[in-house]
Amino acid sequence: MSRTITIEPVTRIEGHARISLQLADTGEVEDARFHLTQFRGFEKFCEGRPYREMPALTARTCGICPVSHLLASNKACDDLLAVSIPPTAEKLRRVMNLAQLVQSHALSFFHLSSPDLLLGWDADPKSRNIFGVMQQQPELAKDGIRLRQIGQTIIEILGGKKIHPTWVVPGGVSEALSQDKRDAMQAMLPEALEIAKRTYATFKALLPKFKDEASHFGTLPTLFLSLVSETGQLEHCTGVLRVKDAKGRIIEDKVPPRDYRRLIGEAVEDFSYMKFPYYKPMGYPRGIYRVGPLARLNNADSCGTPYADVALAEFRTLQEESGPVASSFHYHYARLVEIIYAIERMQRILKEPDILDTRVRAHARGNRQEGIGVSEAPRGTLMHHYKIDENGLITWVDLIIATGHNNLAMNRSIKQVADAYVDGTQLNEGMLNRVEAVIRCYDPCLSCASHAYGKMPLVIELQDAQGEVIDRLVRD
């Protein structure tokens, strides 16, 4: 008799999801599915709104990565205006995006994943949480708080508020940077870099403990998609799309973001509200790809900043054979490299002489009826695509969210972890938490992916071949 184990909700990720494992008579995992069970419908309720409201509206998709939506949405609006924004505005937007990257990656690493990494997957779930980390490694927990605080403070300095700033506008930014504000940001960055380097060293020292997990946590032969700069460097704000295959060969390069639809198709499955994007030339589901820090580092030729380039070289040694780093476990590593990069890059940009230039906004009316904006959110490539009518009102919206891109890979990763660790005849917290933990590697933001908002309890269900629930485990 086959059975299904369901884990619901998955904890310590952003949003609301359920995992179900279908077991065969032998107890082996036959199938694994990641269900997104909430729906909010941002793409629908934005219809009829003026396009200039879109940045503010879509930023409300998420309380963790509003800056990412703000940037992608404003880039789509820039495209509707058919303007090229002033260079200083682009730099200022980039600083805000990098600050966002720092605070979001810090949340993922220090607060969501560190309980597993520091306390172990087999630790008592009552203490395998941030309070357990605080007791065992209070300085590391403080570092996490401080890094988030610095990222959020930079966002606040630039945007006027930490959450949902309105300073980024169609055509650029609404206000030039003052010297005082520049100095205040610069003053915090050395401390941030020290924390980032310290954390990177700590994590590297821990890595040998996780050999087993690294080989089973989504070690998949997938494609990788991300933005890169025109010269092939790590890029989060502008640039062109690149796709590499599982062997590391570039199969698409210098693709303008406006042409994303040539690369990406979106499939729908009846078990989840999250769509299943795929690389169109290879079809569904063969065209499975990953986005986010792992993909960005695999795709980039270099970071272009000193410490991050050393860390990138070390990152590449994680893969024993030549080719991209294949294990999704190493998203954690990639996040730490990106934090270092983001801080170094902010330091460099803030030193540039034109950063205080007062020409920061291009003014225009809507000059196109279709606009596309693509940026790299902390979790991966974020695409906003709008169509407007002659009055500037939205008639159609498509949002392809970082977490959505990784949907196929997350499902495959769960299956791989379940194969390695789940024995259906013996349920225990450690193995089930590993199934959850592979999802946390992707740091999914389900609020964004479904445009849903909710809390995250956890349920595991066991179903027989007829679909009857024969066992259930709930974590509040």
Binding site: T11, R12, E14, L107, F131, I145, R146, R148, Q149, H164
Partner: protein
């Protein structure tokens, strides 16, 4: 140490859920005792723990679904590690206080003022009449609490 921090939180696109940040915005227009800081937030996030460690008093402002529309409730808060949020996206204020206690060894005097809401639908940008009345009383309550603390 800063005398007080007022944090109003909630979603500005879900009708009455916006009462916390709206009241915070309105408080910022008022004459407040020296050193009082007011923040309007969508959600409570982890780094606030560090700010709490540096104030004598914190007042959280939020909407409530378990109160009749327009009704106000004022309650003291204490650190509670069992109020652990299952998603780091959003923190219970008691959890933030527990973070503060655990990491920095102290917590401020803490209060939560909630107002019952009538309408929490998506894509709603205004307060209901009941919540609007509650907002006025919420502002007064905060001013009274700050004045009392100031006298003390």
């Amino acid at each position: 140490m800063r005398p007080a921090l007022v944090i109003g939180y909630g979603s500005p696109i879900r009708g009455d859920d916006a009462i916390g940040p709206l009241v915070a915005d309105r408080l910022q227009q008022q004459q407040l005792p020296d050193g009082v800081r007011v923040e309007a937030r969508h959600i409570l996030t982890a780094e606030l723990a560090a700010e709490l460690a540096e104030v004598a008093q914190v007042i959280f402002l939020d909407a409530a679904v378990d109160l009749p529309p327009g009704e106000l409730r004022i309650q003291p808060l204490a650190p509670d590690t069992s109020a652990l949020s299952t998603m780091a996206h959003f923190h219970d204020p008691r959890e933030l206080l527990a973070w503060c206690q655990g990491l920095y060894g102290r917590v401020p005097e803490a209060w939560l003022i909630t107002a019952g809401g009538a309408d929490f639908d998506y894509g709603h940008f205004h307060l209901s009449e009941a919540a609007e009345h509650a907002a006025t009383r919420m502002i007064q309550s905060v001013l009274d609490m700050l004045a009392l603390k100031n006298l003390g």
